[in-house]
Symmetry: C2
């Protein structure tokens, strides 16, 4: 296998990606145990790569701005990455998720972590697009990441991790693809606020899937989004997380689709298909990199 | 109405956009007459803006590389823009299409044209992403455009024209939105090659729509794609253009959908919805313009 530049390497074999869509409770120990159980079950069924939802260790705490919540943050490497690393090594699977990272006093991130099948950390990525909308008060908690480097070589393929709000940004998916990602995994926490579904039906959830299928098509790669389920927060408010985790191929076709309850899904990812799709629809050849400077502006 | 920067202007009223999906024949005069008839019919039904398909004046000549075909090119302003300008002025409608432009001996473009409701040319845009795949030999005919400027103020709203292959590139739609486009119109010529549908079903046509719905979502704007229909080229080869013109709203919901035969469709475009959607999902606020330099690279 030539090592003359990662992008020129030999195409790797197909592998299976599985996603653990779960409900979270207040107790992190229980969430970690449930996630590890999900990894074990998926590995038993043949998964080589497992994606866990965003901030799976806790409830989605960003609904309120409370400085006491920073206590939930931890270092990377740290307890959660160590625990997942041990399971990854034991089962020989890659694990991808997001962790509330404490890098220093006052500097916290929402960090995507890719753990390789030997238990080592293949890479981390600090979420770069930070939302701040009612009940998603993330700008209070997370410093925006300083780098778009999100794709990491693993035993089974080059995998990018992008986190939740990133999934609405074509720029993020494109940079992942340009880094060589064959599969982009999006750990996610998204749902309906009180009354939102009544007002606009499934429009938001459907747009959420469509825009990500669009990224798969535009980049000729696989996409896997893994979201939590259940209601969290005030009974008369809060968020009902909509689940609907899915895996899509380079044509944007949905290969596996979860509902709105706890569920595990999986599908095959073939890096050969990524290459064939990009030959069939050669977008990366035709990008006008000489004209894209305005993309780095707020408005043109 | 404040003129202090176009992006700060007052939100305009809703308007109707209509699309003429038609079959083309060898004789340009007949195609022009049919297109003008379509404009008249749509205007009669209340359309304020009408989109015509890519290179509607002729058959899709890019199936073969023949220097004689450059004879089809014309200047802008020129006969076609003059004829459309006269109809636009008479009916008080905006007309958007693509013309095979001769700018100089040896310099030809596939040019999007936006004709304002007073018959003047609001702007032209030279297609920037040029395909070259079997039967779509456009790199032979068209110089790639030198500018991403594609959105132009018209009587009814700020409208961008992007052309066919552009529709697969998130960068193009993003730049249109950053220029203030509330509606992006894609004149198009796309279809199935011999056997393609048998091999991959509707995957390509569905991906074509999904990726454009994704642009509408990512940018919080309206999208209208207008494609030709019918078989052109060798009876045992050639292209069967799939029609399926459509209009989508900022949630990516399909408001109007054509089939695979000659048809006119229309829908309402509300610039107020563009603003409300971008407040609801504030992606343009959160773009990481400090991290997007890699988008201007071939690979990262």
């Amino acid at each position: 296998m030539s090592m003359g530049g990662e992008q020129g390497r030999k195409v790797m074999s197909a592998f299976n990606v599985g996603l653990v869509q779960m409900r979270c409770v207040a107790n992190p120990t229980q969430n970690l145990a449930k996630a590890i159980e999900g990894i074990r079950e998926l590995a038993k069924d043949g998964a080589n790569v497992v994606g866990l939802q965003e901030l799976f260790l806790t409830e989605y705490f960003c609904q309120q701005e409370d400085p006491g919540l920073f206590e939930l943050a931890e270092s990377i490497p740290g307890p959660t990455s160590d625990a997942l690393g041990a399971v990854a090594r034991e089962l020989g699977v890659v694990v991808v998720t997001s962790v509330f990272e404490r890098r220093a006093a006052g500097v916290y991130y929402n960090t995507g972590v890719v753990i390789d099948a030997d238990g080592s950390i293949a890479g981390t990525y600090q979420k770069m697009h930070i939302p701040h909308t009612p009940l998603y008060r993330e700008k209070y908690f997370f410093a925006p990441g300083e780098s778009s480097r999100c794709a990491f070589q693993t035993r089974f393929g080059k995998i990018a991790v992008l986190v939740c709000w990133d999934q609405w940004f074509p720029e993020a998916a494109r940079m992942a693809a340009l880094q060589g990602a064959e599969l982009i995994i999006y750990p996610t926490a998204i749902g309906f606020r009180e009354g939102e579904r009544m007002r606009m039906g499934d429009a938001k959830a459907e747009a959420w899937q469509t825009v990500q299928r669009g990224h798969a098509i535009a980049n000729g790669c696989y996409i896997a989004a893994v979201n939590r389920v259940g209601h969290e927060g005030s009974p008369n408010g809060g968020i009902t997380f909509w689940g609907r985790s899915f895996i899509a191929d380079p044509f944007g076709r949905v290969l596996a689709q979860a509902g709105e309850a706890q569920e595990r899904i999986s599908a095959a990812v073939d890096p050969g298909d990524v290459e064939r799709q990009r030959q069939f629809l050669p977008f990366l050849r035709d990008r006008r990199i000489d004209l894209y400077a305005p993309l780095a502006q707020r408005l043109c």
